[in-house]
């Protein structure tokens, strides 16, 4: 109980919680954008995915 109370009352911990929530969300969103953009890339042959070097 005291530990829970300390989380809410210790100065600075609030900032850490807020920072973790925001950076966590940002990381999830970056992951989602990458996942959406990669849609269909699996069907492409590797040389197309990486770019044809002789063009």
């Amino acid at each position: 109980m005291e530990t829970i109370s300390a989380v809410f009352t210790t100065p600075g911990i609030g900032g850490i919680i807020a920072t973790v929530v925001l950076t966590g969300a940002a990381a999830v969103y970056v992951g989602l954008i990458r996942w959406v953009l990669q849609g269909g890339r699996e069907e492409q042959p590797p040389y197309e995915r990486m770019g044809w070097p002789f063009e």
Partner: protein, 442 residues
Amino acid sequence: MLRPEITQTQSEDEALLLAPLTRTSRGFMLLVGLLATVALVGIFAYIRQLSRGLGVSGMNRPVYWGVYIVNFVFFIGLAHSGTFISAILRLVGAGWRTPLARAAEAITVFSVPFGAGSILIDLGRIDRMFNVFFYGRYASALLWDVTSVSLYLLSSIVFFYFALLPDLAHARDQLTEVPQWQHEMYRILALGWRDHPEQYRRLEKVLDGMAVFMTLLVVTVHTVVAFVFSMTLQPVWHTAVLGPFFLVGAVFSGSGAVVIAMAILRRVFRLENILTWKHFDYMRQLLIALSLTWMYFMITEHLTIFYGREIPEMQVFFQRFTGAYAPLFWAMLALCFLVPFPILLTVGKRSIGWMVVAGLMINVGMWLERYIVVLPTLTRPHLLNELAIGTYTPTWTELSITAASFAGLILLYALFTRFFPIVPIWERSEEVEAYLHEEEGE
């Protein structure tokens, strides 16, 4: 790939939606000039406040919150329109929301920064905002606000950007005549979108998932905004009804703003075939429902206070009904309900103009409502209610910054409509829709 089918069936509507991205009218330049001037006056007033301190505002003891906090609550509330129309109506499968989703989401994305900015302006010394992170205790509702509003801003931008991605690619591929920098902007922002069916399928999945999250967030955010007031023991603020009341008011003002934006966009960009009467009628019905819900909370709140008869609460109550704030209170009631509600029921049925009038009234009224929430309590706070009566009059600094915030919001919105399609093109594409339904096995 979907691009060939889309271009083959490219309708006049689509050309109409892309047309504003290729030209700048004289009216647009005038509007931008006017709004930028108002914004500059506000920036000057803010710099002056920064150098001289918050003494240039009307805030004093015990009235330590003023117009800036009113603006904070109002702008965050206004932002709820986008999330409501885009996320909540997406969840309930209201297909009619599609053409107006982006116009509403843009209000969200551009008004949240002004809401959050109002708090920073209210701080006085802006460098002290970092103290919230360094020394903040999570027992404080202010820190809940920082977390939820920041998360809401981030999530709204991402949600907005996701739905914009295919159209950015469309602009990149279709608009070859635009200036080089503009084309480059589309190219960078499109992130290499290739119009692959699998991308659309994944995009829909992400938008559906985010709609659930955004719905939770929209309820949380405005409830937490209300907690900043209701977690204190001040008269009239300390009530559980404040959270849902704030939320309903937020969606109410936001929906009014969407009607205004829809009408202007329809007129300026000649979108009569896209933003049809049907859309306005749905919004009218939504506003009627929200008006009644808002009034229900208004009566509940005041009836409970009146029956309690606690002295500090009654002092604030009478401040509102018959005291110093009575003219504003009754004006607010007239603008939020007594006038627009009959308009929506009668002439609003046949006229978009009247609906815009109602939307404007609701927004002015809702700003006043936030004013009425903040000020009467602070002029009669608990500890001082027998000893002193606070006073507050906003100064020109606060009014200039308020005007600049509104001008800034409209300016950003106008610039967005100049460079980006304000109605989603890809969500209107029958080919994309047919593909997605086929994937779902419908």
